[in-house]
């Protein structure tokens, strides 16, 4: 059998959920955004919960090898505490919940500060889960190790009679390969671009995005390498930091991409602080990153539809058509293929997950079934009179 990895991007509106399914069956889920109205047949949003459960059932399992939360914004964690089996409290356990063999979180997620009325918010629950797993010393990796976290951790470890460095193996710094996956064994490796420690100065909302998880996912298929740039909600300056730092360390190859999950639902802020009228002009280093795209590469925007119509140019909330224009221009320049929007394929009324195949031949987009009769059969037609 030919080695084929799969990459899936789910139509969750302006939100993120994607998944890597390796040829050997291992699964890594990035973010989880299930919105209640997605359960409604007439809503274009996917019923993520049912979809993921069905996929796992088809694969005859009830867990993920890894679930990575890039950061704790609602559109990246929404519904997760209903869906996953959480180790830290019995109320998040029970029949039908999906287990997480290893949880990946940026350090900022353990440092979230919550007011009293936020205590039952999902980001707090996930913070508790991450803290619990870290203290238990298993089933978690924490990305970056800021001093605040050490300050919190050291006394806790002392209470347990453990040395301050007892959890060091559970921390991953920027610029290294994430342990647990290898090109030889799994055909994939995850290289951590972000967060840097300086991105985690305090636990406020502003910093969440700055301290989000950004990875280069490198696939190896029969000797050929292909790169997937997986970015949370980073803004242009973080991206510039990454380009600068990566180049400084001589890791330029980690900036290349065959597939780029662009940040923040196609917000212009990921390109520049200025939107531009017709098209955003990316900052120099961001532009360099865009030009790292390989021939036949794809861009994926995890967002609502982003059509080139007059109204789009006046939107304040992402997606921004000006940003799309900039992305598409650069994609053409590198000989890339398509700029795909999760909520647009195969149509905006009932989008389906975007599925990419990573094979020896490279990254290709496997279309959901064509329209016509199959599409009609799969959907509820309007009522007849």
């Amino acid at each position: 059998m030919a080695t084929i990895h799969k990459l899936l991007f789910y139509p969750v509106g302006n939100g993120d959920t994607s998944q890597v399914v390796l040829s050997n069956g291992r699964r890594v889920l990035f973010d989880y955004c299930h919105r209640r109205n997605g359960e409604d047949q007439d809503c274009p949003l996917i019923d993520l919960k049912s979809k993921l459960k069905q996929e796992l059932a088809d694969a005859n399992r009830d867990d993920y090898d890894v679930v990575a939360f890039t950061h704790a914004d609602v559109d990246h964690i929404c519904g997760s505490t209903d869906f996953f089996h959480l180790q830290h409290a019995a109320k998040y356990q029970g029949e039908g919940r999906i287990k997480i063999k290893e949880l990946w979180v940026p350090a900022a997620m353990l440092l979230e500060i919550a007011s009293n009325d936020q205590q039952s918010d999902e980001f707090v629950i996930l913070r508790q889960e991450a803290r619990y797993r870290l203290l238990e010393g298993k089933d978690i990796l924490v990305f970056s190790k800021p001093p605040e976290l050490v300050e919190w951790l050291t006394p806790k470890l002392k209470e347990r009679g453990e040395a301050p460095n007892a959890r060091d193996h559970l921390f991953v710094d920027a610029g290294v390969i994430v342990p647990g996956f290898t090109l030889a064994k799994d055909g994939v490796e995850f290289f951590c671009h972000s967060p840097f420690i300086e991105h985690c100065e305090d636990g406020s909302d502003v910093v969440r995005n700055r301290a989000a998880l950004i990875l280069n996912v490198r696939f190896n298929v029969d000797g050929e390498s292909y790169d997937f740039l997986q970015v949370g909600d980073a803004e242009w300056d973080v991206l510039e930091d990454i380009v600068r730092t990566t180049r400084a360390h001589g890791n330029d190859d980690r900036l290349a991409w065959n597939l780029f999950n662009i940040p923040h639902h196609c917000s212009y802020l990921a390109l520049s602080n200025e939107k531009g009228d017709k098209e955003t002009l990316p900052k120099t280093l961001v532009q360099e990153l865009l030009l790292e795209g390989k021939e036949d590469a794809y861009l994926v925007s995890s967002s609502r539809p982003n059509p080139d119509v007059k109204e789009s140019y006046e939107q304040t909330q992402p997606p921004h058509i000006q940003a799309r224009k900039a992305y598409e221009r650069h994609l053409r320049e590198v000989g890339g293929r398509k700029f795909l929007v999760t909520m647009e394929e195969p149509n905006a009324t009932k989008p389906e997950p975007l599925e990419f195949e990573v094979s020896a031949g490279g990254v290709s987009w496997i279309r959901a079934a064509f329209g016509g009769a199959p599409a009609i059969i799969a959907s509820k037609p309007p009522r007849a009179g």
Partner: protein, 752 residues
């Protein structure tokens, strides 16, 4: 930057509304609606006033094309959709990018012209039945994606050949490769009959008669250096193009042709009339998996040239014509004429090279894995001949057939023989029909003899050597005799019931622990007890002919019924041969509905009890039944009658069944007196169901708990009584006693 082929003799259509053909307009609109297609240009090719072709040039994007595909298809390709005026013709798709790969499923357009994609496998009429512009566009994308992934070939499509359509075929014998290794082997080509559409099939003949007479052509054969797997190239359309193509592979075809053609003429010259109307060039191309590896097979390509060898020689400048005679030209030295080049313009017509199947190819095509056994088929009557024919065609097994009969006129109604075979022994008929299918690709031995005559070496030798002997003899003689013989191969009996509505397979196990003899008996027991047995053997001739006729089909029966069962049995023998177990299987067909139901009868082992001059055979199925009836009646005794048959040809008594005690029987702790209520009717029914084969053969009774089967005084007395009764039919009597753990059979025979 990609460069593109430009189309010749076309002019631009400035406005879509100027498109004259409805199909091209619809196609243009569909392409415009589809995001993956971008219309680049609209062209037309005119024939006088009217557009003969309208051409829509598009760029298509295919996301399913892997970026690094081995074929070299790109994500974005430029295509020309050539829409012919004739609505019965398909839209031709040309790939315009220079450097578009040469792949299978391209029509043969010749070098330096755009590739023409062969989108459909079906003929145009079948495609057009459901053709829409939208599904055509999808098909184009599908073709590109599948080709890029190397997934576009039907199972039996040779990988290296273009999917061209030619009217000419060259057919090689099945063993062409081996014949070719023979140094002295020469081939001739026999022209077939021209077909109404102008097509023609040429047969390569390797027979001993090697005189190149009229209508037989000596092919011009050239062997090329090895190429690697998956190498595909276009067919040249002129001899010059072929020369260029071969030149690129280091072969100078002119030198090769010169040598061959010079040899066709001796010093006296050759007459113009001696020339053929055409020549066949046959290229042998060794194919290896990778560079430097030994060739794993030879691919062959052939071309037709519409000039005989002599005229070709003249064109090439190796021969010259003078006074109606061809002579050799001086080709070197000062006298040599200037080299000619007009030969380059000679047209070549590609021929589809086909090869006759050998056994392995026939099996592959039939989806059969195993080679099949070294087998013997006993009896090639109606059923046997039909089964043999099926096995011949699928290449299963190597067969010896044994039969002593010959074909009579009435046989033609239900036999694969033809009128020309009347009077010919059936085995000879089978051998010639076998050869007509296989052309000697497989062994086949006809033995015209009586299979039951084991004194004949021609009979015993193949049966002993065979792994499988299929008895389709319709009599009981052979299977019962074979059951007595150790050292024979595994046997199976196949037969059709007299009315043609059911067929039966009795299969011994691979070790022959269970032989046809007991399978026959157990089959009868099932006929007696199972619902399907009710009318199973109806129509038999048992009342006229002495027994043993239940496998003979009645004389009024259509061949279709025989063939129907022959197909089932031919496949079932193949399946059962793969398994070591013994089987009894029955197929019952409802001739009204055409439905067939299958039944399986569980098989029991057999044991033999020797009684001086006769052997009594009884299977464990009967024994189990007897023990069960005994246990049911305990502590009292019970009993009943024994059913079975005598066969003095093989000195055997075979027990088929034991009936339970009739209701009016008397019994106690130490005695049993068998009643009569319903018994005559029951035995009549057994007789009817089994075509008179299964009869009353004696009595059985049980002994009480704690007692063996040792006969009592009463038992001996009863046996004497039975013997006297049976003696009136000249038969012995059997008495069987079931004890606590054992079973004893006694035979009594009144001396006359």
């Amino acid at each position: 930057m990609d460069s593109y082929h430009s189309l010749l003799n076309v002019e631009e259509v400035k406005d879509v509304s100027d498109l004259a053909l409805p199909r091209s307009f619809a196609l243009h609109e569909a392409a415009k609606r589809c995001d993956d297609f971008t219309v680049i240009q609209i062209l037309k090719h005119c024939d006088g006033e009217e557009a003969r072709l309208e051409i829509i040039v598009v760029d298509v994007e295919c996301d399913g094309v892997p970026p690094k595909n081995p074929g070299g298809i790109k994500y974005r390709e430029r295509l020309a959709f050539c829409v012919p005026r004739d609505p019965k013709l398909l839209v031709e798709v040309l790939a315009l990018r220079k450097g578009f790969p040469i792949l299978m499923h391209q029509n043969n357009n010749g070098p330096d012209s755009p590739a023409s994609l062969c989108l459909y496998f079906e003929p145009p009429a079948a495609v057009l039945r459901t053709w829409t512009p939208e599904n055509f566009l999808r098909r184009v994308q599908w073709w590109l994606e599948k080709s890029a992934r190397g997934e576009l070939h039907p199972a039996d499509q040779p990988v290296e050949q273009l999917f061209f359509v030619t009217k000419y075929e060259l057919v090689l014998p099945w063993n062409f490769g081996d014949l070719q290794k023979n140094q002295g082997q020469r081939f001739l080509i026999q022209r077939g009959q021209p077909r109404p559409d102008g097509g023609e099939t040429f047969l390569v003949d390797a027979s001993a008669d090697q005189n190149p007479t009229k209508g037989r052509i000596t092919p011009i054969e050239i062997t090329l250096p090895a190429v690697t797997h998956r190498h595909v190239e276009r067919d040249p359309i002129t001899l010059g193009q072929l020369a260029d193509l071969l030149n690129a592979r280091g072969v100078d075809i002119k030198v090769a042709l010169d040598a061959v053609l010079r040899d066709r003429v001796n010093d006296e010259g050759a007459t113009e009339q001696a020339d053929d109307p055409l020549s066949v060039i046959l290229l042998h191309v060794p194919v290896s998996r990778g560079p430097g590896e030994p060739p794993e097979r030879i691919a062959r390509r052939a071309f037709l040239v519409m000039a005989g060898a002599l005229r070709l020689g003249e064109k090439l400048g190796v021969l010259f014509i003078h006074g109606g005679l061809y002579f050799r030209e001086v080709t070197d030295g000062v006298l040599a004429p200037r080299p000619k080049t007009d030969w380059r313009e000679l047209n070549l017509y590609p021929m589809e090279v086909l090869q006759c199947n050998d056994a392995a190819a026939a099996r592959r095509q039939s989806g059969i894995k195993g080679e099949g056994p070294q087998g013997v088929l006993v009896g090639v009557g109606s059923l046997g001949s039909a089964m043999q024919n099926l096995w011949d065609r699928c290449g299963w097994g190597r067969w010896t057939v044994i039969d002593k009969d010959h074909i009579k006129p009435h046989n033609l109604v239900r036999h694969i023989a033809y009128a020309q075979h009347i009077g010919v022994p059936k085995v000879e008929v089978m051998a010639s029909l076998h050869a007509a299918v296989t052309q000697g690709a497989r062994g086949f031995v006809p033995v015209c003899a009586d299979a039951t005559d084991l004194t004949q070496e021609t009979v015993v030798k193949p049966i002993t050597a065979a792994c499988l002997v299929v008895d389709a003899s319709t009599t009981l003689e052979y299977p019962r005799l074979a059951s007595t013989q150790d050292g024979f191969g595994r046997h199976m009996s196949v037969f059709i019931t007299p009315d043609g509505n059911a067929s039966v397979l009795l299969a011994e196990d691979a070790d022959r622990k269970v032989r046809l003899r007991t399978l026959e008996a157990q089959y009868y027991r099932a006929v007696i007890h199972e619902d399907w047995g009710e009318k199973h053997l109806d129509g038999n001739l048992g009342s006229f002919w002495s027994g043993a006729s239940c496998r003979d089909i009645s004389t009024i029966l259509p061949y279709s019924r025989v063939v129907n069962h022959a197909t089932t049995l031919a496949e079932q023998v193949q399946l059962v041969t793969e398994q070591p177990e013994s089987r009894i299987r029955i197929w019952v067909r409802d001739p009204e509905a055409g439905a067939i139901r299958a039944y399986e009868v569980p098989v029991h082992g057999e044991r033999v009890l020797s009684l001086d001059d006769l052997d009594v055979f009884i299977d464990y199925g009967v024994e189990e039944k007897l023990h069960a009836l005994r246990a049911e009646a305990a502590p009292g005794e019970t009993g009943g009658v024994l059913l079975g048959y005598f066969d003095f040809n093989v000195n055997a008594i075979v027990v088929v069944d034991a009936l339970p005690a009739p209701p009016d029987s008397m019994s106690g702790a130490t005695f049993f007196e068998r009643g009569v209520a319903g018994l005559p009717e029951a035995i009549r029914e057994v007789d009817r169901r089994t075509a008179g084969i299964v009869q009353y053969i004696g009595e059985w009774h049980s002994h009480p708990p704690g007692h063996s089967a040792l006969p009592s005084r009463d038992d001996m007395f009863q046996l004497a009584y039975l013997s006297l009764g049976m003696a009136q039919d000249g038969l012995p009597a059997i008495s069987l006693i079931v004890g606590e753990r054992d079973l004893r059979v006694m035979k009594g025979q009144a001396k006359g």
